[in-house]
């Protein structure tokens, strides 16, 4: 449905040349929810804006529903954009129009008659659950409600594609969840292809079927969400997954941490479970097998696409030899172990 081919984007800041996107290739199939994730400044916003040509790629072509947008005239592009809905981080609703007329705007632009507009907008209001807010102005809506209006507006012209530019980044966790549920519902019931960009791994995990990771203007990895989470090939992908798990050593442990083994100290481990790890109750197994105690400090395990992955911080209490054997056993089961130090 969306094909991004060999897209480069170069910005000029005075004399300075900034390469925002380099050789991006993406192929998003019909009905898919595709996530692009990247840190701030990685170029993901530029990428999504290239899809409807709010930003024109310096090189390369963007093909949506079989039409090469980069080859269209200004007028044809305007018409083509009516089949591509877009929602934004800051909603971009017109403050001068109430909810009804905000949603009606794309229909007005297309010259739809009043009666059809009435029927359509009411149906959309029902879909996003804002029937009672019809005559409210955006200033009196919450962030989540504003994004619902924006979604309804984006759907008004029956688009085949919905672009979401950090659509949940300005929302609280509860609103984020409800917006994601709404997007999933739209994807299922209307069979709309959704491309969303975000810096939140939770969003990707929550609704995306496929994901691409972008860093420094380059697409570093893409594939099914489960695969990427379970078998990240690049360090960038791995860092991203780790960043969502976000395990830091507690401060009082850091004070007591020594780089080398000294008498009466215990190893502090970071265990990383990936898709390759053998799925067994490993913690209780090593405790029994090597007669050690395991103190889990923090742990963040997740289950995506049928695979378990996550990080764990734990200290192994027991004989030093037993600890070494336990670590070797963990490694045998394809769990990545890093000895962070020794705690006194």
């Amino acid at each position: 449905m969306i094909k991004i081919q060999n897209v480069h984007k170069i910005f000029y800041q005075g004399e300075k040349k900034i390469s925002a996107l380099q050789d991006i290739n993406l192929n998003i199939s019909q009905g898919c929810i595709y996530g692009v994730i990247g840190a701030s400044g990685a170029g993901k916003s530029t990428l999504i804006r290239c899809v409807n040509l709010l930003e024109r790629p310096t090189i390369g072509s963007v093909i949506v529903d079989g039409v090469d947008l980069t080859a269209l005239s200004a007028h044809k592009l305007t018409l083509a954009r009516r089949k591509i809905g877009m929602i934004f981080q800051h909603f971009n609703l017109l403050s001068s129009r109430n909810v009804f007329y905000n949603i009606a705007l794309p229909l007005e632009l297309a010259g739809t008659d009043k009666e059809t507009i009435h029927i359509k907008v009411n149906a959309l209001l029902k879909l996003v659950g804002l029937m009672d807010k019809k005559t409210t102005y955006p200033a009196n809506l919450s962030g989540g409600q504003k994004q619902r209006v924006a979604i309804a507006r984006a759907l008004a012209s029956d688009p085949k594609v919905l672009l979401c530019d950090e659509a949940t980044s300005a929302l609280d966790p509860a609103s984020t969840l409800s917006i994601l549920n709404l997007l999933r519902k739209i994807n299922k019931t209307l069979n709309i292809t959704i491309l969303l960009i975000t810096h939140e791994m939770a969003v990707v995990k929550g609704i995306c079927h496929e994901v691409a990771i972008i860093g420094d203007g380059k697409l570093v990895e893409h594939g099914k969400v489960g695969d990427i989470f379970a078998h990240p090939k690049t360090t960038l992908a791995r860092d991203f997954i780790r960043s969502t798990l976000n395990l830091t050593i507690p401060e009082d442990y850091q004070v007591r941490l020594h780089a080398t083994h000294i008498p009466n100290s215990y190893p502090l481990l970071r265990l990383e479970f990936t898709g390759k790890s053998v799925d067994v109750p490993i913690i209780s197994q090593i405790a029994r097998k090597f007669n050690i105690d395991i103190n889990i400090l923090s742990s963040n395990m997740d289950y995506v696409g049928g695979l378990k992955f996550g990080l764990m911080l734990a200290e192994i209490l027991g004989e030093p030899e037993a600890a070494i054997e336990a670590i070797a056993f963990l490694k045998e089961n394809k769990i990545e172990v890093e000895v962070l130090g020794y705690v006194v």
């Binding site: 409807n52 877009m86 934004f88 800051h90 971009n92 017109l94 001068s96 794309p106 632009l109």
Partner: protein
């Protein structure tokens, strides 16, 4: 000068009353006629200034520069000089260089660049994200101007209209120079030149009331249209 003084003056100067009423009519005529034509030309000019800007909707560097210079020239000529400087043009347009109609021409010419800059400023306040959203929806530039930029900037534009009307009330006082009449003219000729403090005071009070009415009407409209 108490209220009684004015009452006394009013009773003993019945013919003056008709004069003041006529003068008020002339002032209103000048202010609203020049205002109306000024908005009709100044608002599109302000829109052009805004959309032709760098990174604007219809970026056109040369047009923007030329319009900018013209507007700046218009804004920098003192009104009293403009009034006499364009007499040939005024005569060409209304057939005479004196009278109320003749005063409307320089008032309008003075108002257009003033309005244009105020409208430009009001449009600048519209968040660029809204324009972008409209573009993403497939709006043509004209649709963006009519359905997004102008409605979103409406409170600011109404504010600009009010400022312009009040300024025009002030400018219209100078219209006496070309025989345009109006309250300011009465104040100068009867109040100042004939040492009639009563007339002077009454014209000033009438002008104050006029400005108050325009301002509160405007404030009310801004409140009604401002949903931000």
């Amino acid at each position: 000068m108490s209220f009684n003084f004015i009452l006394q003056w009013w009773e003993s100067n019945a013919p003056m009353i008709q004069l003041l009423i006529d003068a008020l009519g002339q002032t209103l005529n000048m202010v609203f006629a020049s205002g109306l034509i000024g908005f009709a030309l100044g608002i599109p000019l302000g829109v052009l200034l805004h959309v032709s800007k760098k990174k604007g909707l219809l970026e056109n560097h040369i047009l923007n520069k030329v319009l900018g210079i013209i507007v700046n020239i218009g804004r920098s000529i003192p009104f009293i000089i403009l009034l006499v400087a364009i007499i040939p043009f005024t005569r060409f347009l209304v057939g005479s260089s004196i009278g109320t109609a003749a005063a409307i021409v320089p008032l309008t010419i003075g108002a257009i660049p003033f309005i244009a800059r105020l409208v430009e400023g009001a449009l600048l306040e519209v968040p660029s994200g809204l324009v972008e959203a409209a573009q993403a929806m497939g709006a043509t530039p004209l649709q963006i101007i009519c359905k997004v930029l102008l409605p979103e900037a409406l409170p600011g534009i109404i504010n600009g209209i009010i400022i312009t009307l009040v300024t025009l009330v002030g400018y219209s006082a100078m219209a006496g120079t070309v025989g345009g009449g109006g309250l300011g003219d009465v104040g100068i000729r009867y109040g100042y030149q004939r040492f009639d403090a009563g007339v002077m005071l009454i014209t000033v009070i009438m002008l104050v009331i006029l400005v108050q009415i325009i301002q509160s009407l405007g404030d009310h409209l801004v409140k009604r249209f401002d949903h931000r």
